[in-house]
């Protein structure tokens, strides 16, 4: 089967981009997960993020183009609150608008542009770029572009998925032509028929209707003019986004008694959320030196480690501590668990009398350990639990108790 070298020989006019390493990809992915909290439907956001990331990296090697680009920083909500609803990435080049439309399909005989990018006046772009991604083989290619005018002339509208559909032959393969056209030719803002504006009451009603969490985008749930009007407004879009996320979190993260629960099995897939991170990321992000986890040898037998900075803040006299949990699957279908507590931000010692407790689902204290005056860290005795058991770890200091809840469901991955 062809790899990227072969393919770039077969299609020399396309722009072929390789992603660096699998590891980097995982970081993007984690970032997406963090942004998208616990939305199941994160894959679209992930694909868009990978695509944008590779594009931005390529631009770094093309200074003549890069200086004319404006790309909102990746951390901005702007990207994410669109990706929640629609596939596509908006960029500004030389005052003109370009939209990248990524797709993971192998077949490139057609190019589909979501209606939003064409019919919402402020979203319509001067040029649309077709991007094919192969996430498993770490490459993407831009296989063609088409102008707004050409889309209007040649596209067929498909009401089933609300896209404008173009044939491969309608696109121009060499994007150099587009760069030069944008520099030399006067491009006008696409003339798009304005969408009727919604009354405040109507908008609120629609938002209420659509904020019911669904794993799919609500873009097809109401007619396009209303949907377009909601989406076009930065304010409405943000409200809708926030509400959906809030509702999803409420729905998904609660166990029957209404507590937030960490699914530890996700850690084995390198998925951490709610402030939890893998130890490696934690070290690089917090500038905490690995030296601090001096007892790492204790964790040597452990295969996944997660850490969370517990900012006790005012509650515990401005103290921060790091809660570290190591998991190691056992042959008997149980998991060995190691729990440790460290001081954070370069502190050498934990405050005295901080208490680390293992609590059962029913609230019973199973074991605990308390720090003395100059402890570098404290840890619970290693314990084993069968799959499916809930447990909580409680960090207590004086009158304050902070509780983290966990459950370990069955493993999906073969690597264990």
């Amino acid at each position: 089967m062809f790899n990227i070298d072969d393919l770039s020989i077969i299609y020399p006019e396309n722009l072929w981009l390789e992603f660096s390493a699998l590891e980097q990809e995982k970081i993007w992915y984690k970032t997406v997960i963090n942004r998208f909290k616990n939305i199941d439907n994160y894959h679209g956001g992930f694909v868009n993020f990978v695509c944008l990331n590779a594009f931005v990296k390529w631009l770094e090697d093309e200074p003549d183009l890069q200086e004319k680009f404006y790309i909102p920083p990746l951390s901005q909500d702007l990207h994410f609150n669109r990706w929640e609803f629609v596939n596509g990435i908006e960029l500004t080049f030389n005052q003109n608008r370009i939209v990248l439309i990524p797709s993971e399909q192998g077949d490139i005989s057609e190019f589909r542009i979501p209606q939003e990018w064409v019919d919402i006046p402020d979203w319509a772009a001067n040029y649309y770029l077709a991007v094919q991604l192969n996430i498993e083989e770490n490459w993407q290619r831009i296989w063609g572009f088409i102008s707004y005018e050409q889309v209007n002339q040649k596209a067929k509208y498909d009401s089933i998925d609300r896209t404008y559909c173009l044939n491969n032959r309608d696109l121009t393969a060499d994007i150099n032509i587009m760069w030069v056209a944008q520099e030399l030719c006067m491009l006008e803002k696409p003339q798009v028929k304005p969408l009727p504006s919604l009354s405040e009451a109507k908008a609120q009603e629609i938002i209420k209707q659509l904020s019911k969490p669904t794993v799919y985008s609500p873009r097809l749930d109401i007619n396009f003019t209303e949907w377009g009007a909601i989406l076009a407004s930065d304010e409405y879009r943000q409200i809708l986004y926030n509400r959906r996320i809030q509702n999803l979190q409420n729905q998904q993260l609660m166990d029957p008694t209404g507590k937030v629960v960490q699914k530890l099995n996700l850690w084995f897939e390198n998925v951490f959320n709610e402030g939890w991170q893998s130890v490696d990321d934690f070290l690089s992000l917090t500038n905490t030196t690995a030296f601090q986890f001096r007892s790492d040898s204790v964790l040597n037998e452990v295969c996944v480690k997660g850490a969370k900075l517990i900012d006790l803040g005012m509650q515990l006299e401005n103290t921060s501590v790091v809660l570290l949990i190591g998991l190691s699957p056992q042959i008997d279908n149980k998991v060995g668990i190691r729990v440790q507590l460290y001081p954070a931000f370069g502190e050498n010692y934990l405050p005295a009398s901080i208490k680390l407790t293992l609590v059962s689902k029913s609230g019973k204290s199973l074991q605990y350990v308390e720090s003395r005056s100059y402890d570098n860290y404290i840890q619970l005795k290693r314990f084993k639990l069968p799959l499916g058991k809930f447990f909580s770890i409680q960090v207590g200091f004086k009158d304050i108790n902070i509780k983290e809840n966990f459950v370990l469901e069955s493993f999906a991955y073969s690597e264990i």
Binding site: S8, I9, W16, E25, D107, S109, E149, D158, I160, N176
Partner: protein, 498 residues
């Protein structure tokens, strides 16, 4: 014989290739019916040349396709099937040329096809000339029908081998992973192939779309998606029912079993679809041909000289490395991989084909921009207005750059030949009617023996030329030896031009 000489044969015979112990044999087979009809036409209009007939047949085809009326059905000598066959006969050389070019361009890909295989694929496109010429633009393309056809054949071959690779990949996908990898076009075609009715296809497509939006993905694993759980199927069913109502599709309310059954049929259809040998030529769609632009005409005619002047100036001002890459690529006709192989020791940033490709893209972008600017200054009345205009001048620019790079190399050879005696010169230059090759290429088309004497002089000329190229580009001695066959080809072309 590689080329047909006789006018009647050109429109009535077909080529078949035999791979005969590493020698490609060309066999021309005459179609008696076509021959008879063509003879009659030629007798009726003895002054008409090859170009006239080719354009005439294309016109008949295009009129037919655009008006969708069988205007010419009245004339049995010119029925559409016959016209198509005349044209596909006419395109045989272009097919072979496209096959040979693509064979060379794709020399470095993993799965290698033979010239014969490429020829077979290109011939599929040639046998549907109606579709092949659908986007033919008389104002622009009639001057060089062969170039139009070769470009179309090469595009077709590339897409076909890409599709064959996609087919090969189907085994990598889990059932539901394959569903996720399909495009809407493939999905529809796969169901059509299973004789689904149109109204059924719409409902299945809706179910498939709901599945696509609901199925959960683990990172990096589009191909390994597991079968959805019953709870997932239920969610898909409820979304499906809701969508059907919204779109007013008459349907029977679906539950998880219905959805699972529908998706299983889709998987079955998709597996069959991707298992078929992909040899369909284009789908049905309406092409709105670009109106011929005044630019097209200008570029073809009096402005050509102006273009050359601009190109020469721009080329001279290009950075040194760009010049080298352009000369190797356009002048010597090397593939980008070959360019990378030659330059990678000296230029560490050019190790792989795609690095050369990016460097080339950067140079082309800059030269295209400058070229368009100059063009606008000179031709203020025919201003370059949009991307389509830029596309038009780009092909003129490329053609001209190629010519210019070749001219540079021709001038090297003009100089080199001066070191030979008159007798040697005559021997080389007068031996030009057979295109012989010095290298051990597997495809020798003509086997007239070349005298050792001539071969020795030629070898000397080739060596001199190679040294001069290496010096000119400051490359280590013998670094061009690995593309010896291209250098020999080039020298032969130069000899032919004399």
């Amino acid at each position: 014989m590689e080329k047909r000489q006789n006018l009647v044969n050109k429109f009535s015979s077909f080529l078949s290739l035999r791979d005969d112990s590493h020698q490609l044999r060309l066999i021309w087979q005459i179609d008696p019916e076509l021959e008879k009809k063509m003879k009659l036409k030629v007798e009726a209009d003895p002054n008409a040349k090859e170009k006239f007939w080719a354009q005439y047949f294309i016109r008949v085809l295009l009129v037919q396709y655009q008006s969708n009326q069988n205007l010419l059905q009245l004339n049995p000598e010119c029925s559409l099937p016959i016209v198509k066959r005349h044209l596909s006969a006419y395109l045989q050389e272009s097919c072979l040329k496209a096959a040979k070019e693509i064979h060379r361009e794709l020399k470095y890909i993993k799965h290698k096809y033979s010239v014969e295989e490429y020829f077979q694929i290109a011939n599929i496109a040639a046998s549907s000339p109606g579709k092949l010429f659908k986007s033919f633009n008389f104002a622009r393309d009639k001057i060089n029908i062969e170039a139009y056809a070769i470009a179309a054949f090469k595009r077709f071959v590339r897409n076909q081998i890409y599709q064959q690779d996609l087919e090969a990949r189907r085994t990598r996908f889990s059932n539901y992973g394959l569903l996720r990898n399909l495009s809407v076009a493939e999905f529809n075609e796969s169901l059509v192939a299973q004789n689904f009715q149109n109204n059924q296809i719409i409902l299945y497509r809706l179910a498939w779309q709901c599945f696509n939006e609901i199925s959960e993905l683990t990172p990096n694993r589009l191909s390994n998606i597991k079968k959805p759980s019953n709870a997932d199927f239920t969610a898909i069913a409820s979304y499906y029912n809701q969508r059907c109502e919204r779109l007013n599709f008459p349907h029977i309310s679906a539950n998880y079993i219905t959805i699972e059954t529908m998706l299983s049929s889709c998987i079955h259809a998709a597996r069959n679809y991707r298992a078929k040998q992909y040899l369909a030529f284009e789908e049905n769609y309406n092409i709105i041909p670009d109106a011929p632009s005044i630019l097209d005409v200008l570029i073809q005619q009096e402005e050509w000289h102006q273009v050359q002047v601009i190109v020469k100036k721009l080329f001279t001002n290009m950075p040194e490395l760009c010049k080298i890459i352009f000369q190797l690529w356009q002048g010597l006709n090397l593939t980008q991989t070959e360019v990378a192989n030659i330059l990678k020791d000296k230029y560490p940033e050019l190790q792989k084909q795609y690095q050369v490709a990016r460097k080339l893209k950067r140079c082309s972008r800059s030269i295209l921009k400058k070229f368009a600017e100059e063009w606008n200054q000179i031709n203020s009345e025919v201003y370059v207005n949009d991307d389509r205009d830029i596309k038009r001048i780009k092909s003129a620019l490329e053609q001209c750059l190629k010519l210019y790079c070749r001219e540079i190399y021709f001038s090297f050879l003009d100089k080199n030949i001066k070191v030979f005696t008159d007798e040697e010169k005559n021997n080389i230059l007068n031996n030009n009617n057979s295109v012989n090759r010095l290298s051990n290429q597997q495809t020798n088309y003509d086997l007239e023996p070349e005298s050792d004497f001539v071969a020795a002089i030629k070898l000397k000329l080739v060596k001199l030329f190679q040294c001069q190229l290496e010096n000119n580009m400051c490359l280590p001695t013998n670094s061009l030896s690995r593309v010896n066959d291209r250098i020999v080809d080039f020298v032969n072309e130069w000899i032919e031009s004399k």
